[in-house]
Symmetry: C3
Subunit: 673 residues, 3 copies
Amino acid sequence: MPASPWPAIDGIAYGGDYNPEQWPRDVWPEDVRLMREAGVNLVSVGIFSWALIEVSENVFDFGWLDEILGLLHEGGIAVDLGTPTASPPAWFFAAHPDARAVNRDGVPMGFGSRGMASHSHPAYLDASTRIADALAARYAEHPAVVMWHVHNEYGVPVGEDYSPASVAAWRAWLRTRYGSLDGLNSAWGTAFWGQHYGDWEHVGAPATAPSTLNPAQKLDWARFTDDRLRACFVAERDAIRAHSDLPVTTNFMANQHTGTDLWAWAREVDIVSDDHYLWAADEEGEIGLAIAADLSRSVGGGKPWILMEHSTSAVNWQPRNVAKRPGEMARNSLSHFARGADGILFFQWRAGRSGAEKFHSAMLPHAGADSRVFREVVDLGATLGRLGEVRGSSVPAEVAILWDFESFWAQDLEWRPSEDLSHGERIRAYYEALWREGITVDFALPGHDLSGYKLVIAPAQYLLRQADADNLNAYVAAGGTLVVSYFSAVVDENDAVHAGGFAAPLRPALGIRVEEHLPLREGVTTTVRFGDDDLTADVWHEHLVLAGAQTRGSYVDGPGAEMPAVTRNVHGAGVGWYVSTRPDAAGLRAILDEVLADAGVALPGIPAGLEVVRRRGADADYVVAINHAASDLSLDLTGTDLISGSDAAGSLTVRAGDVAVVRTQRAASGGGR
Amino acid sequence: MPASPWPAIDGIAYGGDYNPEQWPRDVWPEDVRLMREAGVNLVSVGIFSWALIEVSENVFDFGWLDEILGLLHEGGIAVDLGTPTASPPAWFFAAHPDARAVNRDGVPMGFGSRGMASHSHPAYLDASTRIADALAARYAEHPAVVMWHVHNEYGVPVGEDYSPASVAAWRAWLRTRYGSLDGLNSAWGTAFWGQHYGDWEHVGAPATAPSTLNPAQKLDWARFTDDRLRACFVAERDAIRAHSDLPVTTNFMANQHTGTDLWAWAREVDIVSDDHYLWAADEEGEIGLAIAADLSRSVGGGKPWILMEHSTSAVNWQPRNVAKRPGEMARNSLSHFARGADGILFFQWRAGRSGAEKFHSAMLPHAGADSRVFREVVDLGATLGRLGEVRGSSVPAEVAILWDFESFWAQDLEWRPSEDLSHGERIRAYYEALWREGITVDFALPGHDLSGYKLVIAPAQYLLRQADADNLNAYVAAGGTLVVSYFSAVVDENDAVHAGGFAAPLRPALGIRVEEHLPLREGVTTTVRFGDDDLTADVWHEHLVLAGAQTRGSYVDGPGAEMPAVTRNVHGAGVGWYVSTRPDAAGLRAILDEVLADAGVALPGIPAGLEVVRRRGADADYVVAINHAASDLSLDLTGTDLISGSDAAGSLTVRAGDVAVVRTQRAASGGGR
Amino acid sequence: MPASPWPAIDGIAYGGDYNPEQWPRDVWPEDVRLMREAGVNLVSVGIFSWALIEVSENVFDFGWLDEILGLLHEGGIAVDLGTPTASPPAWFFAAHPDARAVNRDGVPMGFGSRGMASHSHPAYLDASTRIADALAARYAEHPAVVMWHVHNEYGVPVGEDYSPASVAAWRAWLRTRYGSLDGLNSAWGTAFWGQHYGDWEHVGAPATAPSTLNPAQKLDWARFTDDRLRACFVAERDAIRAHSDLPVTTNFMANQHTGTDLWAWAREVDIVSDDHYLWAADEEGEIGLAIAADLSRSVGGGKPWILMEHSTSAVNWQPRNVAKRPGEMARNSLSHFARGADGILFFQWRAGRSGAEKFHSAMLPHAGADSRVFREVVDLGATLGRLGEVRGSSVPAEVAILWDFESFWAQDLEWRPSEDLSHGERIRAYYEALWREGITVDFALPGHDLSGYKLVIAPAQYLLRQADADNLNAYVAAGGTLVVSYFSAVVDENDAVHAGGFAAPLRPALGIRVEEHLPLREGVTTTVRFGDDDLTADVWHEHLVLAGAQTRGSYVDGPGAEMPAVTRNVHGAGVGWYVSTRPDAAGLRAILDEVLADAGVALPGIPAGLEVVRRRGADADYVVAINHAASDLSLDLTGTDLISGSDAAGSLTVRAGDVAVVRTQRAASGGGR
């Protein structure tokens, strides 16, 4: 671990990926000049440069990199130096065709796009650590370099690998995990469908087969893939550490790629980095953005985090790549900032004329500097320049939502009771209800110390280990409020149904038995009676049997008719709620209003369209207020807006589409770790 | 053939698949105790146990199987002993990687799910007969064992095989079929697209190719695949027969998998077994169930049949796995029974905690014995216990619907005139119209002796051999009534259009020429004038030219406007109807009303929602009345309800959701074979 | 080039593909008799006959072909003799398994359907030129043979090939194209995503990869594939030329397959041939037909052209194969004729009983000669017999629409700004607007001499070379009117965004800058204010900045709100219009009304439903008037209808569904090349 995890940059980091090798040298000085105009202080260099640095195996050409690092340093721009191992060169694949990743049908993934090689082939491991070592050896002391950026988006576009090298590593991994074949046979339940193994060499990858594969095998395969990718990262990081104590990071894709367990990954980095792109079809993409930001902060557990990539306007890889409208880039950036990001970077600095991503927007678009986008980039740089004092402050939260990658992997396997079950959809629904209330959320694992939270929500905890269930039961007994959504606590770590039936491990906290799942047919909606209200619900019912809980909502029609739908259970000093169906947004709001009252979480009372988040500094709080609406909105607040410099005395008005960052008095309390 | 085809079980067989190897031994005594509580008298054991019985090649471990068979026998539970060849062990695939089935893209189907090996690889044939022999040798005299259950659902999940072993067998099969290459070239019409073969070794499987494959080749491939699978069955059966004369069966998937020609398969088994699962998206799944049951009875041609698998509640492999509602399991079970099933079994006894089917319901669910499902299982066992006297009775029918697997295979090939053509849809439509009237149906082949039926319907006889057409023409000439739906009698056994044009072979019976097919565009509906009624029709018109028939319905609009749509032809002593379009349900009902009058089939006049089927015993008839509606329904009947024990004098009321099985006087007549 | 490109046939050619090898010899004399009855004077023979002519490698059997050519000649039927190389025999693939084409996943495309071998494998090149040589050597002097028909529909069903032979040819092709790896690296922009090549042997085909492939590589791959296919054609053509100076053709699929650059192909043939099939789901298939016909004429640049294949009624390969209604076949045929076709042929003469296309209609259907279809075939033959004097006349046009295969290839690559972008849809929209007005259109390349046209439209010129842009700018400067639709002039020949930004090369003509693309979300419609009208538009907006142009339409709402939507720029003596959105049909009509006025193109003023095209002969014009409507329609015209023989004095009435071909005075002028 380096002495200080924050790189040597003043204030908030601002910049983007910079790929000078795509341009003639005479463009480079203009780049530096325009970066300075925009207030850029950090760029990521070299992320896709392997073929130009190691021009053939073990033959290096650092000349151009020396030159551009020198130019950047002269311009006062710090460098986040990348290892280019996300895209090995043509010569690598030509020399090592068996190091290509292979898909589940046995087709090797060839060269010509991007994507790493087999995560388990010795040739790739050798080559990737060799170039990491070479870069660190050469540039550890370079004055421009302030941090290291290993690889790019591990797991994307390819993570899984069915090559022989991977299968060999898989068998070794399983031997370590289970010790004996008896252990594996038991964990995987191989008595089902005659899958018993009598020899380690008979265990294969979950490749194409006549029918659905063993789910425990597939779950372990997901664990193995994540583990191997992380081993690749650690090998590169350690190769760098041998030369440098600058912070090392790799860029995650929180809330966009669930194939890597970011809780584990965050432990291995010095600084959390996240890439986030709006989903263009979603007219409220800022909610998905907020989830990604809160997750990035949460997995770091207090480590600094940087928004390593987002876009100034449209991306290029979605079905319809909607451009951002004026002001939207700033609102996006400052929402990340509000949720803890101390750096705001983009992919990429200058739009590339060639290649698969030429239609991806950039800080400097194809239209050049005389353009709306570049003018807004300059404005944003100026804004961030005024926010330096906020850096390092924290983000308090009273509510935690459980986010468990293993549970997602298990839930997303084949042959579940209904294809309408979606872990992402449920998390978004609960998160969105709180977002609209202005309640800040942390994400957490079910095994975490949750005692700092007033409310814990489990929207998608399909897989729940007994020990983690014990933790949740204890959290409630000690006074916490827990809300559990349907299809939770169904299986253990081997995707085996819990003894005692669905949800049995949470019976203490919830006071119910789930006797049977009752999925609804496509498009069917039903009614739930909740207090005096009729809520609309679809997708799912359950046959609940009370075992201590009280019924708070009942099914009026559908397969659950006349049975409990929503229950509340007092357990020790706390309360456990269970919601066995999918209410619509209004219905979920009605239920959560009672839950929040139980938990003692106060509603901030902000107007619709205004996103408000509080960062907590050592001496002051900073309230970030983002107006997503088409009209001016106000909230009660006293302090100074760091962006405009104006003072608010009791009331702050944020203009339509605008953002304020108000230094204000430190608030009394607030949850979170 | 064993002396008596019915196994040594008293009354109706009741039980399910039992997989004790998935559970610790201490669970086994509880299983037997609960089976007894539920009235179970037959369980299928060992279906997926290969890896635990033959632990490595030719090394057997029968200990656990001895133990469980002993326990079951002590508990009075008979055993249907399976050969586990539907899922070879890991060691088999490791030792014989070239015995894996291969898909049409050349990808071998690996281990890890379930599914047989290549149906033509010597290693698989050796191994499967070896274990069948070993089981039969050991357990032929075991007192618990009353019948043999070979394999599981042949053809599912994999039947087709493009491996070299399969291609070699295919060439041999073609040589036998055609004798000479001239015969093959002529049958396949290889002059088209330059596909002439000059050497047997040049003939390949219909694997991935640049365009649509030769349809006659694909049709023969379907025949070959079916033939090879059946050869696998016969080899195992004969291995068993060398030791035992107990009845042998294998479980079909009537109405759910059309890849095996069940008419041919039924000739090879002693007892017909069927697996049936409701299609959850269908709110009237009981109609598809009735088709499956009637087909199972029909293919057996008088052999006893058993419902070998169905589900107590939801399955796990459909998009949305709807759970059965209270009473539904009993109604489903008794509908099979009404249509001739003398055994009602489930997959499976105890819900498995692990594996791909953990969300499949079971007799003993995850929730345990204190559950709705188990209580209904116990009730059903008691009900069946009262119905023993019905066993062995037959099911009379006056109407036959043609069901010809070869025709389905041919119709489902590529490049047909409209993708809205569906053999299954047309059979369901005609069947459903009769089901709603309470008219019991047999299924038959067009070459069968049909003289016992008043009415024969051909909803999907696309492929019709000339000899079978002659049989149908003779059936009409002798006084029968025949209804033929569009796109029938189009091709011969080689998928070649009949000389003389579409439907030419049925010109005697139908008195029409089909000059041209007139498919409709997607979503277009048209009107047919039928007597005084305007019927709605879609999907298909034809250009009909009368050649003796009378027009009974005419196209009002659409491509057939002003031409005949529905015709009636008197041929000898009988009548041939032709329906050249797809009427909606009301329209088909209107047409069938006239057809039934022609045929002299009386309408039973039962209320909507009540399913009524008559089984005919030696001394009495048994009327099964199943109320699918939400209100009580009555029908005219005198007799004793074997379930409730109460008597009906002239009128029987069946309560909403309930079932009665009434012993009554033997009715006068009734068709069928 | 042969002395005269038109074959030795009197009048308009009429006939179809004739595959006598599918029938016994006793059918052949009947075929000839019925052909004579139908007025057939040309049939294409031998297109799929390789296996029956070269029965094994280098062993020929010409006997049957001698016989049928003799019969045809005796019957006065001329022969278009095919080379059968679109479907090599089974023995070829058995002897040369590595000559199979391979798909991008590495799966070889096997035998059993149709489709050529690898376009680059020496064995295929040898075999295909050998049989072309053998046929030409034997039949060059045969009196029946009047022209040569090489292959069939190059590129369909398979053109791309990822086999080793193809990859080797690809590397050689790239070396020739680029000379050096520096050239390739620069053209492909391999600095992006680290794709730099240091060795020619490292360059591969764009096969399956983890993510999107290099678009310039894929664009070159399309060029290479087209080039190799054309080389195959040229090799066969030259083998024939060594023996014969009869005209050589190969049948295109204009407007149905865009994989071959027909401008380049048309230079290599003596006669342009086209195959055209209606798209059945389109209720106005005659518009797509007209595009295909106009394109066939345009690519020929004055060469004669023949409709080599169309259908008498339904085809068999679409989802729903709608049959043609009475008169439709004649209208289709005469629309091709109106647009310059001097031959009207069908696939095929006699409907085949077997094979994948048995449900394709034919001149002689399954129903035989006593059928609607054959009667209409006979009528059409008589009609064409009256039109001989029209042969060789031209088709004048004042308007050109740009049609550039390279631009289509580039636009259809992955990761474009919106999947709603479609080059075909935009061309159809502009073409259709003019078709409804009765304005005849040529197609052209942007580099052509366009000075003969009053108006040039670029609906889908995504890829535009700078030199071609210069040509368009000069065209406007010299007085032309140019209309450019959105997403045009975006990239250069390497799919690299033009320096200066989107549309920069056309800035002189258009007077605008396209600062940013603004794709709309799915289903969103917006309003454009155009003069006094509110037009509806969807799919796409752009952020336009005026650079000399005037705003003629503005966005009212959506992402472009308040910005220009439609602009008009005076440049030199001409005008350049830009339409930055997708107006609906009425909106496009409103815009084009102004454009046509600018261009001085007069509206013919024909009634809706009447298609009118003028052919220009040496001494007279011939006006073809096709009534697609259900009522009689009239137009102002004086002359003699060659079909009916009646005279029109000032006004011609065409009955519903009917066609007239009126000899009239030569009109004064008319554009075109």
